[in-house]
Subunit: 222 residues, 2 copies
Protein backbone atom coordinates (compact mmCIF):
# COMPACT_ATOMS: atom_id res chain seq x y z
CA UNK A 1 0.00 0.00 0.00
CA UNK A 2 1.56 3.29 -1.10
CA UNK A 3 1.89 5.84 1.66
CA UNK A 4 0.39 9.20 0.73
CA UNK A 5 1.00 10.97 4.02
CA UNK A 6 -1.31 13.77 4.97
CA UNK A 7 -3.73 13.00 2.15
CA UNK A 8 -7.41 12.81 2.89
CA UNK A 9 -9.23 10.30 0.69
CA UNK A 10 -12.84 9.61 1.57
CA UNK A 11 -15.38 7.69 -0.44
CA UNK A 12 -19.05 8.38 0.14
CA UNK A 13 -20.46 5.09 -1.07
CA UNK A 14 -22.16 1.83 -0.20
CA UNK A 15 -20.47 -1.56 -0.25
CA UNK A 16 -23.41 -3.19 -2.07
CA UNK A 17 -23.49 -0.66 -4.93
CA UNK A 18 -21.67 -1.57 -8.16
CA UNK A 19 -21.02 2.14 -8.84
CA UNK A 20 -19.39 2.66 -5.48
CA UNK A 21 -17.51 -0.62 -5.89
CA UNK A 22 -15.95 0.61 -9.15
CA UNK A 23 -14.23 3.41 -7.23
CA UNK A 24 -13.00 1.01 -4.55
CA UNK A 25 -11.49 -1.23 -7.25
CA UNK A 26 -9.64 1.75 -8.76
CA UNK A 27 -8.35 2.97 -5.39
CA UNK A 28 -7.13 -0.54 -4.55
CA UNK A 29 -5.43 -0.90 -7.95
CA UNK A 30 -3.47 2.24 -7.08
CA UNK A 31 -2.83 1.20 -3.49
CA UNK A 32 -4.46 4.35 -2.13
CA UNK A 33 -5.65 4.27 1.47
CA UNK A 34 -9.19 5.57 1.84
CA UNK A 35 -12.03 5.78 4.26
CA UNK A 36 -15.38 4.39 3.06
CA UNK A 37 -18.24 6.45 4.44
CA UNK A 38 -21.20 4.13 4.20
CA UNK A 39 -24.24 6.02 2.93
CA UNK A 40 -27.83 4.95 3.45
CA UNK A 41 -29.33 5.61 0.02
CA UNK A 42 -32.80 5.90 1.58
CA UNK A 43 -31.59 8.58 3.98
CA UNK A 44 -28.69 10.47 2.40
CA UNK A 45 -26.28 12.37 4.61
CA UNK A 46 -26.05 16.18 4.47
CA UNK A 47 -22.41 15.78 3.41
CA UNK A 48 -23.33 13.65 0.39
CA UNK A 49 -25.92 16.23 -0.68
CA UNK A 50 -23.32 18.97 -0.18
CA UNK A 51 -20.65 17.21 -2.21
CA UNK A 52 -22.91 16.01 -5.04
CA UNK A 53 -25.64 18.65 -5.23
CA UNK A 54 -26.36 17.90 -8.92
CA UNK A 55 -27.10 14.17 -8.76
CA UNK A 56 -27.36 13.65 -4.97
CA UNK A 57 -25.96 10.16 -5.49
CA UNK A 58 -23.12 7.93 -4.44
CA UNK A 59 -20.27 7.51 -5.20
CA UNK A 60 -18.49 10.72 -4.34
CA UNK A 61 -14.73 10.80 -3.84
CA UNK A 62 -13.43 13.50 -1.54
CA UNK A 63 -9.72 14.14 -2.06
CA UNK A 64 -8.13 16.77 0.19
CA UNK A 65 -11.51 18.48 0.51
CA UNK A 66 -12.37 18.46 -3.20
CA UNK A 67 -15.35 16.33 -4.27
CA UNK A 68 -15.70 14.38 -7.52
CA UNK A 69 -18.86 12.56 -8.62
CA UNK A 70 -19.77 10.02 -11.34
CA UNK A 71 -17.98 6.68 -11.07
CA UNK A 72 -16.16 6.73 -14.43
CA UNK A 73 -15.09 10.35 -13.96
CA UNK A 74 -13.74 9.38 -10.53
CA UNK A 75 -11.80 6.41 -11.94
CA UNK A 76 -10.09 8.61 -14.54
CA UNK A 77 -9.27 11.11 -11.79
CA UNK A 78 -7.72 8.34 -9.70
CA UNK A 79 -5.66 7.13 -12.65
CA UNK A 80 -4.37 10.65 -13.35
CA UNK A 81 -3.72 11.55 -9.72
CA UNK A 82 -1.92 8.48 -8.38
CA UNK A 83 0.87 7.04 -10.48
CA UNK A 84 1.56 4.17 -8.08
CA UNK A 85 0.14 0.68 -8.46
CA UNK A 86 -1.45 -0.56 -11.67
CA UNK A 87 -2.32 1.81 -14.54
CA UNK A 88 -6.06 1.75 -15.27
CA UNK A 89 -6.05 3.30 -18.74
CA UNK A 90 -3.46 2.30 -21.34
CA UNK A 91 -0.87 4.80 -22.62
CA UNK A 92 -1.70 4.78 -26.33
CA UNK A 93 -4.42 7.33 -27.27
CA UNK A 94 -6.31 4.88 -29.49
CA UNK A 95 -6.26 2.17 -26.81
CA UNK A 96 -7.46 4.78 -24.30
CA UNK A 97 -10.31 5.72 -26.65
CA UNK A 98 -11.33 2.05 -26.92
CA UNK A 99 -11.32 1.70 -23.11
CA UNK A 100 -13.51 4.80 -22.80
CA UNK A 101 -15.81 3.61 -25.58
CA UNK A 102 -16.49 0.28 -23.85
CA UNK A 103 -16.81 1.84 -20.41
CA UNK A 104 -19.47 4.18 -21.81
CA UNK A 105 -21.17 1.30 -23.60
CA UNK A 106 -21.35 -0.71 -20.39
CA UNK A 107 -22.56 2.26 -18.39
CA UNK A 108 -25.25 3.17 -20.94
CA UNK A 109 -26.44 -0.16 -22.28
CA UNK A 110 -26.44 -2.49 -19.30
CA UNK A 111 -28.84 -0.46 -17.21
CA UNK A 112 -31.96 -2.17 -18.69
CA UNK A 113 -30.75 -5.17 -16.66
CA UNK A 114 -32.46 -3.73 -13.60
CA UNK A 115 -35.75 -3.52 -15.47
CA UNK A 116 -35.26 -6.95 -17.06
CA UNK A 117 -35.05 -8.34 -13.56
CA UNK A 118 -37.51 -6.19 -11.64
CA UNK A 119 -40.32 -5.15 -13.96
CA UNK A 120 -43.14 -7.15 -15.51
CA UNK A 121 -45.03 -7.59 -18.77
CA UNK A 122 -44.09 -5.62 -21.86
CA UNK A 123 -41.59 -3.45 -20.00
CA UNK A 124 -39.71 -6.55 -18.83
CA UNK A 125 -39.85 -8.06 -22.30
CA UNK A 126 -38.29 -4.96 -23.88
CA UNK A 127 -35.66 -4.63 -21.14
CA UNK A 128 -34.70 -8.30 -21.50
CA UNK A 129 -34.33 -7.85 -25.25
CA UNK A 130 -32.14 -4.75 -24.76
CA UNK A 131 -30.00 -6.53 -22.17
CA UNK A 132 -29.52 -9.56 -24.41
CA UNK A 133 -28.53 -7.28 -27.27
CA UNK A 134 -25.92 -5.60 -25.07
CA UNK A 135 -24.60 -8.93 -23.77
CA UNK A 136 -24.31 -10.20 -27.36
CA UNK A 137 -22.19 -7.17 -28.24
CA UNK A 138 -19.97 -7.73 -25.20
CA UNK A 139 -19.68 -11.45 -26.01
CA UNK A 140 -18.44 -10.50 -29.47
CA UNK A 141 -15.96 -7.94 -28.10
CA UNK A 142 -14.36 -10.54 -25.82
CA UNK A 143 -13.35 -12.70 -28.79
CA UNK A 144 -9.67 -13.55 -28.37
CA UNK A 145 -9.34 -11.39 -25.26
CA UNK A 146 -8.93 -12.27 -21.63
CA UNK A 147 -10.31 -8.94 -20.41
CA UNK A 148 -11.96 -5.97 -22.11
CA UNK A 149 -8.63 -4.25 -21.48
CA UNK A 150 -6.75 -7.11 -23.26
CA UNK A 151 -4.37 -9.02 -21.02
CA UNK A 152 -5.06 -6.91 -17.95
CA UNK A 153 -8.03 -5.42 -16.14
CA UNK A 154 -8.73 -1.84 -17.25
CA UNK A 155 -11.37 0.89 -17.23
CA UNK A 156 -14.02 -1.13 -19.11
CA UNK A 157 -13.51 -4.18 -16.89
CA UNK A 158 -13.95 -2.08 -13.77
CA UNK A 159 -17.13 -0.59 -15.24
CA UNK A 160 -18.31 -4.12 -16.05
CA UNK A 161 -18.33 -5.17 -12.39
CA UNK A 162 -22.10 -5.19 -12.65
CA UNK A 163 -21.85 -8.03 -15.19
CA UNK A 164 -18.99 -9.68 -13.31
CA UNK A 165 -20.81 -10.09 -10.02
CA UNK A 166 -24.11 -8.26 -9.54
CA UNK A 167 -26.10 -9.63 -12.47
CA UNK A 168 -25.62 -13.28 -11.45
CA UNK A 169 -26.63 -12.48 -7.88
CA UNK A 170 -29.75 -10.59 -9.02
CA UNK A 171 -30.67 -13.43 -11.36
CA UNK A 172 -30.48 -15.86 -8.48
CA UNK A 173 -32.47 -13.68 -6.09
CA UNK A 174 -35.23 -13.08 -8.66
CA UNK A 175 -35.26 -16.57 -10.18
CA UNK A 176 -34.56 -15.29 -13.71
CA UNK A 177 -31.78 -16.42 -16.06
CA UNK A 178 -30.69 -14.05 -18.81
CA UNK A 179 -26.93 -14.52 -18.97
CA UNK A 180 -26.76 -18.22 -19.80
CA UNK A 181 -23.49 -20.10 -20.26
CA UNK A 182 -24.74 -21.39 -23.64
CA UNK A 183 -25.45 -17.97 -25.13
CA UNK A 184 -22.51 -16.13 -23.58
CA UNK A 185 -19.57 -18.54 -23.08
CA UNK A 186 -16.92 -15.79 -23.40
CA UNK A 187 -18.65 -13.59 -20.84
CA UNK A 188 -18.72 -16.55 -18.44
CA UNK A 189 -15.03 -17.16 -19.02
CA UNK A 190 -14.37 -13.46 -18.45
CA UNK A 191 -16.37 -13.58 -15.19
CA UNK A 192 -14.29 -16.51 -13.95
CA UNK A 193 -11.01 -14.74 -14.66
CA UNK A 194 -12.43 -11.53 -13.23
CA UNK A 195 -13.70 -12.65 -9.83
CA UNK A 196 -10.61 -14.85 -9.38
CA UNK A 197 -8.14 -12.02 -10.10
CA UNK A 198 -6.17 -10.70 -7.16
CA UNK A 199 -7.53 -7.17 -7.46
CA UNK A 200 -11.18 -8.28 -7.54
CA UNK A 201 -10.69 -10.66 -4.62
CA UNK A 202 -9.38 -7.70 -2.63
CA UNK A 203 -12.05 -5.28 -3.86
CA UNK A 204 -15.43 -6.91 -4.52
CA UNK A 205 -17.87 -7.97 -1.83
CA UNK A 206 -18.32 -11.74 -1.69
CA UNK A 207 -21.14 -13.37 -3.62
CA UNK A 208 -22.81 -14.54 -0.42
CA UNK A 209 -22.68 -11.07 1.15
CA UNK A 210 -24.37 -9.58 -1.93
CA UNK A 211 -26.88 -12.41 -2.05
CA UNK A 212 -27.97 -11.71 1.54
CA UNK A 213 -28.18 -7.98 0.84
CA UNK A 214 -30.40 -8.31 -2.23
CA UNK A 215 -32.51 -11.04 -0.70
CA UNK A 216 -33.38 -8.48 1.98
CA UNK A 217 -33.89 -5.63 -0.55
CA UNK A 218 -36.08 -7.70 -2.83
CA UNK A 219 -38.12 -9.43 -0.15
CA UNK A 220 -41.70 -9.60 -1.42
CA UNK A 221 -43.74 -6.96 0.37
CA UNK A 222 -47.10 -8.50 -0.40
CA UNK B 1 -3.32 25.22 -39.55
CA UNK B 2 -0.74 22.72 -38.32
CA UNK B 3 0.70 20.50 -41.01
CA UNK B 4 0.52 16.82 -40.14
CA UNK B 5 2.01 15.45 -43.34
CA UNK B 6 0.98 11.99 -44.40
CA UNK B 7 -1.76 11.79 -41.81
CA UNK B 8 -5.19 10.61 -42.82
CA UNK B 9 -7.96 12.24 -40.80
CA UNK B 10 -11.50 11.56 -41.97
CA UNK B 11 -14.70 12.38 -40.18
CA UNK B 12 -17.81 10.40 -41.04
CA UNK B 13 -20.41 12.90 -39.98
CA UNK B 14 -23.13 15.32 -41.02
CA UNK B 15 -22.83 19.09 -40.91
CA UNK B 16 -26.30 19.47 -39.32
CA UNK B 17 -25.65 17.06 -36.44
CA UNK B 18 -24.55 18.53 -33.10
CA UNK B 19 -22.63 15.32 -32.33
CA UNK B 20 -20.66 15.49 -35.55
CA UNK B 21 -20.17 19.23 -35.04
CA UNK B 22 -18.52 18.60 -31.65
CA UNK B 23 -15.74 16.68 -33.40
CA UNK B 24 -15.29 19.40 -36.01
CA UNK B 25 -14.91 21.99 -33.24
CA UNK B 26 -12.23 19.88 -31.54
CA UNK B 27 -10.31 19.29 -34.78
CA UNK B 28 -10.41 23.01 -35.58
CA UNK B 29 -9.24 23.91 -32.07
CA UNK B 30 -6.19 21.75 -32.74
CA UNK B 31 -5.72 23.00 -36.28
CA UNK B 32 -5.95 19.49 -37.72
CA UNK B 33 -6.81 19.18 -41.40
CA UNK B 34 -9.58 16.67 -42.03
CA UNK B 35 -11.96 15.46 -44.66
CA UNK B 36 -15.66 15.50 -43.73
CA UNK B 37 -17.44 12.55 -45.28
CA UNK B 38 -21.06 13.60 -45.30
CA UNK B 39 -23.28 10.69 -44.23
CA UNK B 40 -26.96 10.36 -45.05
CA UNK B 41 -28.37 9.15 -41.73
CA UNK B 42 -31.36 7.63 -43.54
CA UNK B 43 -29.05 5.62 -45.80
CA UNK B 44 -25.80 4.91 -43.99
CA UNK B 45 -22.70 4.05 -45.98
CA UNK B 46 -21.08 0.60 -45.77
CA UNK B 47 -17.93 2.31 -44.45
CA UNK B 48 -19.81 3.90 -41.53
CA UNK B 49 -21.33 0.52 -40.62
CA UNK B 50 -17.87 -1.05 -40.88
CA UNK B 51 -16.21 1.55 -38.68
CA UNK B 52 -18.96 1.79 -36.06
CA UNK B 53 -20.54 -1.68 -36.03
CA UNK B 54 -21.74 -1.30 -32.42
CA UNK B 55 -23.80 1.90 -32.68
CA UNK B 56 -23.94 2.33 -36.49
CA UNK B 57 -23.99 6.09 -35.92
CA UNK B 58 -22.09 9.22 -36.79
CA UNK B 59 -19.67 10.66 -35.82
CA UNK B 60 -16.76 8.34 -36.48
CA UNK B 61 -13.21 9.67 -36.70
CA UNK B 62 -10.83 7.68 -38.85
CA UNK B 63 -7.20 8.45 -38.05
CA UNK B 64 -4.60 6.63 -40.11
CA UNK B 65 -7.06 3.79 -40.67
CA UNK B 66 -8.14 3.44 -37.04
CA UNK B 67 -11.78 4.29 -36.23
CA UNK B 68 -13.06 5.93 -33.05
CA UNK B 69 -16.75 6.44 -32.22
CA UNK B 70 -18.74 8.43 -29.62
CA UNK B 71 -18.30 12.19 -29.80
CA UNK B 72 -16.85 12.77 -26.32
CA UNK B 73 -14.48 9.81 -26.65
CA UNK B 74 -13.31 11.25 -29.98
CA UNK B 75 -12.74 14.71 -28.47
CA UNK B 76 -10.55 13.26 -25.72
CA UNK B 77 -8.64 11.28 -28.36
CA UNK B 78 -8.07 14.45 -30.37
CA UNK B 79 -6.84 16.31 -27.27
CA UNK B 80 -4.40 13.50 -26.44
CA UNK B 81 -3.19 12.95 -30.00
CA UNK B 82 -2.54 16.49 -31.24
CA UNK B 83 -0.68 18.83 -28.94
CA UNK B 84 -0.89 21.78 -31.34
CA UNK B 85 -3.54 24.50 -31.10
CA UNK B 86 -5.71 25.02 -28.04
CA UNK B 87 -5.86 22.45 -25.21
CA UNK B 88 -9.41 21.11 -24.77
CA UNK B 89 -9.08 19.62 -21.29
CA UNK B 90 -7.25 21.49 -18.52
CA UNK B 91 -4.04 20.09 -17.01
CA UNK B 92 -5.08 19.76 -13.37
CA UNK B 93 -6.74 16.37 -12.62
CA UNK B 94 -9.56 17.91 -10.57
CA UNK B 95 -10.30 20.48 -13.28
CA UNK B 96 -10.26 17.65 -15.83
CA UNK B 97 -12.75 15.70 -13.70
CA UNK B 98 -15.05 18.72 -13.56
CA UNK B 99 -14.88 19.11 -17.36
CA UNK B 100 -15.75 15.42 -17.80
CA UNK B 101 -18.52 15.63 -15.21
CA UNK B 102 -20.25 18.50 -17.04
CA UNK B 103 -19.71 16.98 -20.48
CA UNK B 104 -21.41 13.81 -19.26
CA UNK B 105 -24.18 15.83 -17.63
CA UNK B 106 -24.86 17.69 -20.87
CA UNK B 107 -24.72 14.50 -22.91
CA UNK B 108 -27.08 12.62 -20.56
CA UNK B 109 -29.53 15.26 -19.38
CA UNK B 110 -30.15 17.47 -22.36
CA UNK B 111 -31.47 14.72 -24.62
CA UNK B 112 -35.10 15.12 -23.40
CA UNK B 113 -34.93 18.39 -25.38
CA UNK B 114 -35.77 16.47 -28.54
CA UNK B 115 -38.87 15.03 -26.92
CA UNK B 116 -39.79 18.37 -25.34
CA UNK B 117 -39.84 19.81 -28.84
CA UNK B 118 -41.19 16.95 -30.92
CA UNK B 119 -43.58 14.90 -28.80
CA UNK B 120 -47.05 15.70 -27.50
CA UNK B 121 -49.23 15.35 -24.40
CA UNK B 122 -47.86 13.82 -21.22
CA UNK B 123 -44.59 12.76 -22.85
CA UNK B 124 -43.90 16.34 -23.91
CA UNK B 125 -44.85 17.64 -20.49
CA UNK B 126 -42.39 15.32 -18.74
CA UNK B 127 -39.61 16.02 -21.27
CA UNK B 128 -40.10 19.78 -20.89
CA UNK B 129 -39.90 19.44 -17.11
CA UNK B 130 -36.67 17.37 -17.39
CA UNK B 131 -35.16 19.85 -19.84
CA UNK B 132 -36.01 22.81 -17.60
CA UNK B 133 -34.47 21.01 -14.65
CA UNK B 134 -31.25 20.46 -16.61
CA UNK B 135 -31.17 24.06 -17.86
CA UNK B 136 -31.64 25.29 -14.28
CA UNK B 137 -28.62 23.25 -13.19
CA UNK B 138 -26.54 24.63 -16.06
CA UNK B 139 -27.70 28.19 -15.29
CA UNK B 140 -26.46 27.71 -11.73
CA UNK B 141 -23.13 26.27 -12.88
CA UNK B 142 -22.43 29.31 -15.06
CA UNK B 143 -22.53 31.66 -12.06
CA UNK B 144 -19.40 33.82 -12.21
CA UNK B 145 -18.06 31.96 -15.25
CA UNK B 146 -17.73 33.00 -18.86
CA UNK B 147 -17.68 29.41 -20.13
CA UNK B 148 -18.25 26.01 -18.52
CA UNK B 149 -14.47 25.66 -18.86
CA UNK B 150 -13.93 28.97 -17.00
CA UNK B 151 -12.25 31.68 -19.06
CA UNK B 152 -11.88 29.49 -22.15
CA UNK B 153 -13.95 27.04 -24.16
CA UNK B 154 -13.36 23.45 -23.07
CA UNK B 155 -14.80 19.93 -23.25
CA UNK B 156 -18.13 20.79 -21.60
CA UNK B 157 -18.61 23.86 -23.81
CA UNK B 158 -18.01 21.78 -26.92
CA UNK B 159 -20.52 19.20 -25.69
CA UNK B 160 -22.98 22.04 -25.02
CA UNK B 161 -23.11 23.07 -28.69
CA UNK B 162 -26.63 21.67 -28.71
CA UNK B 163 -27.63 24.36 -26.21
CA UNK B 164 -25.45 26.98 -27.88
CA UNK B 165 -27.04 26.74 -31.32
CA UNK B 166 -29.38 23.82 -32.02
CA UNK B 167 -31.95 24.32 -29.27
CA UNK B 168 -32.79 27.90 -30.29
CA UNK B 169 -33.15 26.83 -33.92
CA UNK B 170 -35.42 23.91 -32.99
CA UNK B 171 -37.51 26.17 -30.76
CA UNK B 172 -38.00 28.55 -33.66
CA UNK B 173 -38.86 25.81 -36.16
CA UNK B 174 -41.38 24.20 -33.80
CA UNK B 175 -42.82 27.42 -32.34
CA UNK B 176 -41.98 26.44 -28.76
CA UNK B 177 -40.01 28.47 -26.21
CA UNK B 178 -38.33 26.63 -23.34
CA UNK B 179 -35.03 28.45 -22.90
CA UNK B 180 -36.31 31.94 -22.10
CA UNK B 181 -34.00 34.90 -21.41
CA UNK B 182 -35.90 35.59 -18.16
CA UNK B 183 -35.39 32.12 -16.70
CA UNK B 184 -31.87 31.52 -17.99
CA UNK B 185 -30.01 34.86 -18.31
CA UNK B 186 -26.56 33.27 -17.76
CA UNK B 187 -27.15 30.62 -20.41
CA UNK B 188 -28.14 33.39 -22.83
CA UNK B 189 -24.99 35.32 -21.98
CA UNK B 190 -22.96 32.12 -22.45
CA UNK B 191 -24.61 31.54 -25.85
CA UNK B 192 -23.67 35.08 -26.98
CA UNK B 193 -20.03 34.61 -25.99
CA UNK B 194 -20.05 31.14 -27.48
CA UNK B 195 -21.38 31.75 -30.98
CA UNK B 196 -19.31 34.94 -31.23
CA UNK B 197 -16.03 33.22 -30.28
CA UNK B 198 -13.48 32.75 -33.05
CA UNK B 199 -13.47 28.98 -32.81
CA UNK B 200 -17.26 28.67 -33.02
CA UNK B 201 -17.46 31.11 -35.92
CA UNK B 202 -15.01 28.87 -37.78
CA UNK B 203 -16.68 25.60 -36.70
CA UNK B 204 -20.46 25.86 -36.34
CA UNK B 205 -22.92 25.98 -39.21
CA UNK B 206 -24.70 29.33 -39.44
CA UNK B 207 -28.06 29.77 -37.75
CA UNK B 208 -29.80 30.29 -41.09
CA UNK B 209 -28.28 27.13 -42.59
CA UNK B 210 -29.53 25.08 -39.64
CA UNK B 211 -32.91 26.77 -39.74
CA UNK B 212 -33.38 25.77 -43.40
CA UNK B 213 -32.27 22.22 -42.66
CA UNK B 214 -34.67 21.66 -39.77
CA UNK B 215 -37.53 23.45 -41.51
CA UNK B 216 -37.18 20.78 -44.21
CA UNK B 217 -36.80 17.91 -41.68
CA UNK B 218 -39.76 19.00 -39.62
CA UNK B 219 -42.07 19.92 -42.47
CA UNK B 220 -45.57 18.71 -41.51
CA UNK B 221 -46.31 15.55 -43.47
CA UNK B 222 -50.06 15.64 -43.00
Amino acid sequence: MADYQGEEVKLFGAWGSPFSSRVEIALKMKGVKYELIQEDTANKSPLLLKYNPVHKKIPVLLHNGKPIAESIVIIEYIDETWKSGTPILPQDPHDRAMARFWAKYLDDKLMPMWKAIRSTGEEQEQATKDTEEALKTLENELKGKKFFGGETIGLADITANFVGLWLGVLEEVCGIKIMTQEKYPRIHEWINGYVESGIMKRSLPTRSELLSLFQTYFKPTK
